[in-house]
């Protein structure tokens, strides 16, 4: 490999510098500060008066029923939302992969929720899901199902948010799947046709295996995004009913900015960051082992 000379390095670093500066300012420095604050009793209103408190914040976290509940909720959320969202994305991608008239329309329609702000989506579904006058319940009644409480039931609220989130996010993964699908060479399908494979066999033995790299990428990104759930519960349920939709990021936000306990919420951030980091590492290991 050719050795780079230093006169070429300088412009390279210069071009990198805006990205590095911004990343440093908005990601790395805040992350380091959060780790530092996690060991202090930083109270939002007395920024000049921080005391080092050692592990006190961390001990409190593991005795905080709301934080533990929020961890339980988010795991349940992720486990439910990933198969639904990715399944839906793949299904939609397969639907619009064929050359049909009006495909563009469907492509835009499926993608539209991704473009809208999550707050708008949440408010929209809040109206649709209203127990007494929402469209969904009116439709359910028409087909003879009793009106459902949806967001106002501790048993249904989280699953309702799973559904709304999957509906909102699937369009994005659909586009990536579509790109993956279009990368599969047509010759492979021609060969299988000659061998007499039917559509289902095509899908199982050709499409899915060749989509594997795309699927892995989507899995990991969706996974991380799903763990960061905050806007939907914030707008739709305020973490209720009975904390059934409280998520770690939402609780961190509440502790930090409503309760003003920056030290405590920084400690939660650190714990939560470590948890996600570990899961991502395991996920990476597993997927590499398979190859």
């Amino acid at each position: 490999m050719k050795k780079f000379n230093s006169s070429m390095n300088l412009p390279a670093y210069l071009f990198l510098s805006p990205a590095l500066v911004l990343m440093g300012l908005f990601l790395i420095i805040p992350a380091l500060m959060a780790i530092y604050y996690a060991f202090t009793d930083y109270y939002l209103l007395t920024p000049d008066n921080k005391q080092f408190v050692g592990l006190a914040n961390f001990i409190e976290i593991f005795n905080d029923p709301i934080f533990l509940e929020s961890l339980k909720n988010i795991v349940l959320f992720v486990v439910c939302v990933i198969p639904i969202q990715i399944g839906a994305a793949l299904g939609l991608a397969l639907l619009i992969n064929k050359n049909r008239k009006g495909n563009i329309f469907f492509k835009i329609a499926y993608f539209a929720p991704v473009v809208l702000s999550l707050v708008v989506i949440s408010v929209l579904w809040l109206y649709l899901l209203n127990p007494s006058e929402g469209l969904i319940n009116v439709l359910l009644e028409k087909v003879g199902i009793d009106p459902q409480p949806f967001l106002s039931s501790p048993k249904q609220a989280l699953y309702t948010i799973v559904f709304v989130s999957a509906w909102q996010g699937a369009g994005y993964q659909m586009l990536i799947f579509l790109a993956g699908l279009q990368n599969i060479p047509g010759s492979v399908y021609e060969a299988s046709k000659i061998d007499g494979a039917n559509k289902w066999q095509n899908f199982i033995h050709i499409t899915l295996p060749l989509l594997r790299p795309t699927t892995l990428l989507i899995m990991i990104t969706t996974f991380i995004a799903a763990f960061k759930l905050i806007i939907q519960p914030m707008v739709m349920t305020q973490g209720g009913p009975m904390n059934s939709t409280m998520t770690p990021v939402y609780y961190i936000y509440q502790s930090g900015f409503s309760d003003r306990l920056i030290g405590y919420s920084s400690a939660m951030t650190v714990v939560f960051g470590v948890v996600i980091g570990l899961i991502t590492i395991v996920q990476n290991k597993l997927s590499k082992g398979d190859d």
Partner: protein
């Protein structure tokens, strides 16, 4: 060429960064007071404030002037408070600021605001709830410039059709108790076959704290002990259990609902609604056809003591200011009868002082008069605690949890849990 572009880019970045960094809040002029307010200059409240400041600038005899900066807050209270928090870290608070009632204790405890009792000449005239809300550790730190209140709004036509004689309805002078409230609800539920009253149980928000604590206070209960150190033994005592059973009963018996129809009262679907002074303005502008009246808060049958919600935004002086005299003069001016009257009338909010009540009584609607009278007689400020946000949220959760009566039949256990959560926050 590329290098040139890069150079230009870097220079632009440098300019932007330096431009952001230098912000001077406090004016150089030793007689000019800087003031931050949470509203926009487009609102009625903002306009009234601006004209008061203009008047101050013209009339002040000691040559003090003031400069007002509008920092509108978003729906959930963000925006303005974010700016205050940021100013704290850079030590750039204005000389005078507005703050929401429940923030008094936290701001005073953190040493952000200074006691202003000595500057306020109109102190004896202010409503007790205003003093209560602005006092922390026996010192007055902030003065509310208006009040708020809540009553039971009722649809006259719907009540009459249910066979109720409107002349027998309760008044502030002769209030009603929880049992009578339940009886009326029962009648209305039977007549209309749907919840009788929308009590705003839909969202878990500050409303639950603001509107439901008076029931607890009327019963003689409280959330935390007098010295503000403990909730266990207070929030889970007999009075709390009785109050919470009453509230849960309202949902369980179908008198109210946790999933009300949007604008149910305004559109004539529900006969009653528990709501505040702001609904009066809404009814006037958007639903002029609905004839409605306002009843006072129901009281505990054991005490018959009328207690009603109150609370408002207030003026305070920053503790870091070096213009105490000027800032004190401004707050004093803003809390005179004349200034308070102006803001009450223009913003259609409840008055904060006895003299203002006299000034505007003739000019406001009969519905507003009920709330004004109730306020003067029974307004109770929310607890003045540095840990208020967490205490309030736990109380909100308690009310919200209660409405799930099937899951929370054991009120004592629920209250034990919540009290220990509050204890943790108070430590």
């Amino acid at each position: 060429m590329k290098k040139l572009i890069l150079l230009v880019f870097c220079m632009c970045l440098a300019v932007v960064v330096t431009a952001c960094s230098n912000e001077q809040t406090s004016s150089e002029n030793a007689n000019e007071v800087s003031m931050w307010v949470h509203t926009s200059n487009e609102t009625a409240e903002g306009k009234a404030m601006q004209s008061l400041i203009d008047q101050f600038n013209e009339e002040n005899e000691d040559g003090y002037t003031a400069k007002i900066e509008f920092i509108p807050r978003s729906g959930s209270g963000g925006g303005y408070e974010d700016k205050i928090n940021a100013a704290l870290t850079t030590d750039s608070l204005p000389d005078v600021l507005t703050l929401d009632g429940p923030n008094t204790a936290a701001y005073a405890e953190a040493g952000m605001i200074a006691p202003i009792g000595d500057y306020i000449s109109n102190k004896d005239d202010l409503l007790p709830s205003i003093i209560q809300q602005g006092t922390y550790n026996d010192q007055l730190y902030a003065v509310g410039y208006s009040e708020s209140g809540v009553g039971i709004f009722y649809n006259k036509q719907m009540l009459e059709e249910a066979g109720i004689d409107l002349a027998t309805l309760p008044t502030v002078e002769e209030p009603w108790n929880w049992n009578e409230f339940e009886d009326l609800s029962e009648t209305l539920v039977k007549e209309y076959n749907q919840p009788a009253i929308d009590m705003g149980l839909k969202d878990q928000s500050e409303w639950l704290m603001y509107a439901f604590t008076p029931f607890l206070w009327s019963q003689g209960g409280n959330i935390v002990s007098e010295d503000g150190t403990k909730a266990t033994g207070v929030f889970n005592d007999e009075n709390s259990v009785k109050t919470m059973s009453f509230i849960q009963g309202l949902v369980e018996k179908g008198y109210t609902t946790k999933t009300p129809v949007e604008k149910g009262f305004q559109t004539g679907k529900y006969p009653m609604m528990m709501t505040g002074s702001w609904t009066i303005a809404e009814m006037n502008s958007s639903y002029p056809d609905i004839e409605y009246g306002v009843m006072p808060y129901p009281t505990s049958p054991e005490t018959n003591e009328l207690v009603s919600p109150s609370g408002s935004w207030q003026y305070a002086m920053s503790a870091t200011t070096d213009k105490e005299e000027a800032a004190g003069a401004l707050i004093d001016f803003l809390t005179t009868t004349e200034a308070l009257t102006k803001i009450s009338l223009e913003n259609s909010v409840l008055p904060a002082a006895t003299s203002v009540i006299e000034e505007i009584r003739e000019e406001v609607s009969p519905q507003m008069q009920v709330l004004i009278n109730q306020n003067a007689k029974s307004a109770h400020a929310r607890p003045v605690l540095p840990q208020y946000p967490k205490v309030s949220r736990t109380f909100q959760e308690t009310i919200s949890d209660l409405t799930y009566f099937e899951e929370n039949q054991d009120i004592q256990k629920l209250l034990d849990d919540k009290a220990s959560q509050i204890d943790k926050a108070l430590q």
